[in-house]
Amino acid sequence: MPKDTGIGASSKRREDVRFLTGNGRYTDDINIYGQTYVHFLRSDVAHGRITSIDTSAAESMPGVVRVFTGKDFEGIGGLPCGWLVTDKHGQPMKEPAHPVLAQGKVRHVGDPIAAVVAESLAEARDAAEAIMVDIEELPAVVDMKKALESGASKVHDDLADNLCFDWGFVEENREAVDNAIANSAHVTTLELVNNRLVANPMEPRVAVGEYNRSDDMSTLHTTSQNPHVIRLLMGAFVLGIPEHKLRVVAPDVGGGFGTKIFHYAEEAFCTFASRQVQRPVKWTSTRSEAFMSDAQGRDHVTKIELGLDADNNFTALRCLTYANMGAYLSTFASCTPTWLHGTLLAGNYKTPLIYTNVKAVFTNTVPVDAYRGAGRPEATFQIERVIDKAARELGVDPIKLRRQNFITEFPYATPVAVEYDTGDYVATMDKLEEIADIAGFAARRAESEKNGKLRGLGVNCYIEACGIAPSKLVGQLGARAGLYDAATVRVNATGSISVMVGAHSHGQGHETAFPQVVAEMLGIPEDQIDIVHGDTSKIPFGMGTYGSRSLAVCGSAMVRATEKIINKAKKIAAHLMEASEADIELKNGQFTVAGTDKSVAWGDVTLAAYVPHNYPLEDIEPGLEETAFYDPSNFTYPSGAYCCELELDPETGKVTIERFSAADDFGNIINPMIVSGQVHGGIAQGIGQALLENCAYDPETGQLLSASYMDYAMPRADDVPFYAVDHSCQTPCTHNPLGVKGCGEAGAIGSPPAVINAVLDALNSGGHKVEHINMPATPSRVWAAMQG
């Protein structure tokens, strides 16, 4: 019987009411008295030297308050990178300056050159047209391998070349891996591209900077997944504003998918400029600007080799990846292709030896950083594609080959430095075979073939590492921040509760799911509990939401704080009932003395805490408010198995997904409805990557070719099917109090290989000997592959 409240209930989302009635409050809905508007003049060339900027005409245009250029930011810090990667020679990565407004050079289409602050947006735009900029165009580097050739045009003049770092992992294993591959009975080699994507949350980025002379306080309202991270980076590294004089507010945020983690130039600009012009400054990105200024995702070019012994056991895995950084290092750009990628290369399999080399490259393109999954989809795609290719080469069933090599005993220490605490890959594969009706596929294929269509089925597994932690470890790996989170549980006198959390909800439903946990622990109704998030002046210092960490890390902090509340409340209840604290039990919102009929209600205890007339003041303080910081001891490891079944029209190359099934193990689940929704959305993004989406640059000029929804194919309702998702396989996480693992990225990690494996299955079933097809598998690519 499904529960209707507390942990495990599909409670309807309370935030929906405001969103459904037009009462959400997104950053662009914020208008402050006296506000000005900024428009950024952006580079229309990918690479060039700025020889002159003349703003005089613009300055005299109607409504113009002030025009800013790079000169105004001399002596002010650049945008920092939050993760220092050390290369295989022990050298630190190259960290070129990332100015707020271009200084001397422009390095990608969209690089901001100047900013006009004006009374209205229209006036700011008009005046930006009047700025005269002379740019001496330089050759653009777009292709990563060409960027590393000697004599290639340099993105950053002060660096020796375009190589950011050359990372080896695990470097000590390199020779052993080489030997194992050389001695394997069979080696499958695959070269592939993980296509560049644009995250495209439906709400474009917005920043409103506000400076208050009366208390010297700067406030930034911004579309962020992590307001404290922005406060830390912008205050300490860019603008030099002490934290107590800087407030960052991220109200309702319309989707993030990673690209709203990072600290952006426009945020620093609006905060800085509001102080300069002594008025609020507002910037609202257009979608066209978003395509050339939001950090983009993926963009790996990889060669992977899998060794197998004569019995088809995996012996070793070796991969060489070129990872595109774009023109500058975005906030977490360096950790995505390294620690979030290399550590996942064991996947679900007991491959004993693994080595990866990652060359991170600067190019004249928009910076690349974490996008839903961040490194883990890239790792999964390589592993699951090369396994499928191996199965085809060896003539064995791809599911059987996977099952044979599954990790089956936990905890399991991988050869890539992580330890999986729990999992049951056999169970999720069994579940997948059931919900995808794999047994019935042959009949469905026969039916498709009768209609002149090819039908393919593709399967893959995935493992994810969520809730990046512990801080001590990530610090050793180069993180420049801790990765704990925090929660304050404030119980009010009448018993209602505000929980201030460091996590940020931008679609994940925290306002509903987090109270379910507290309600379960205290036995009071969910609607007595509210979540407060997104404002550094209200919440404890938390690290925000990304990497599927909210519940596993911040939720754990909330549990710890609630436990402290319960402990104190029991002391108060014991005093009120003149009983021993050890005998007090809390159930259904009532404190009772074990073995007696004595009880006091939750509200009686909370009232006593704030009106302490009859209260043990000599032992405990009045009030009922507790904070906990939680630093996990390990990542969490959700896992699963996905299946895509599709029809392919051999006349046109068009692929239609007929069925998509996902069997996930997320450990314990708080709200199954929300979890399913997260998986649905991730799958659509994965299908988008596999079949539709591609961020393309002209290889010669570096012009962004897919710069709007006219050219960048977002998945639409008729591009995707209904999905069958199941999360009944549950191996709870062993090291956090809720036993939860995280579910936000699974869909986007687990789906692209299933789709491509299915496309190849369809093609091969039609007699087309196609070994690989790069994403997105558009009709033209599929058709071309069929022509040999």
Binding site: P201, F257, M673, H680, G681, Y723
Partner: protein, 161 residues
Amino acid sequence: MAKVAMKVNGKSVSREVEGRTLLVQFLREDLRLTGTHVGCDTSQCGACLVHVNGEAVKSCTMFAAEADGAEVTTIEAMANDDGSLNTVQQAFQDYHGLQCGFCTPGMVMSATALLKDNPKPSEREIREYLQGNICRCTGYHNIIKAIMAASGQDVASVAAE
């Protein structure tokens, strides 16, 4: 500047606006009806969808001046008179048809327009109708279910959880 007058959510309004003012800017900035959103600048995403004289219109594709004399309905006027969610809105909540909420006003306005013309749309008809509304969060699964449920159709038989 041009004077425009129209009825928005049943209330007569008039303002002086620049000729280039889009209907969506007029709604958001002049009338402060911020429930209607702007998600793109090429009339692709549908976050700005409203009803003009009962027809679904992307309010970024129309000048405010073109709506002079029209009756405009936005998401702010969709709830029942007592403030409770109407049938379509309630179905979106019941079936988890929204996550971040940004595309949602456009989705609700689009779904409402569809159901007016086609009271019992099939799954395929709903998917095709929603081509002009992009959602990045839900993968559309629960939006389709919500619209089927709002039209009184049996949802459990067509799609799993």
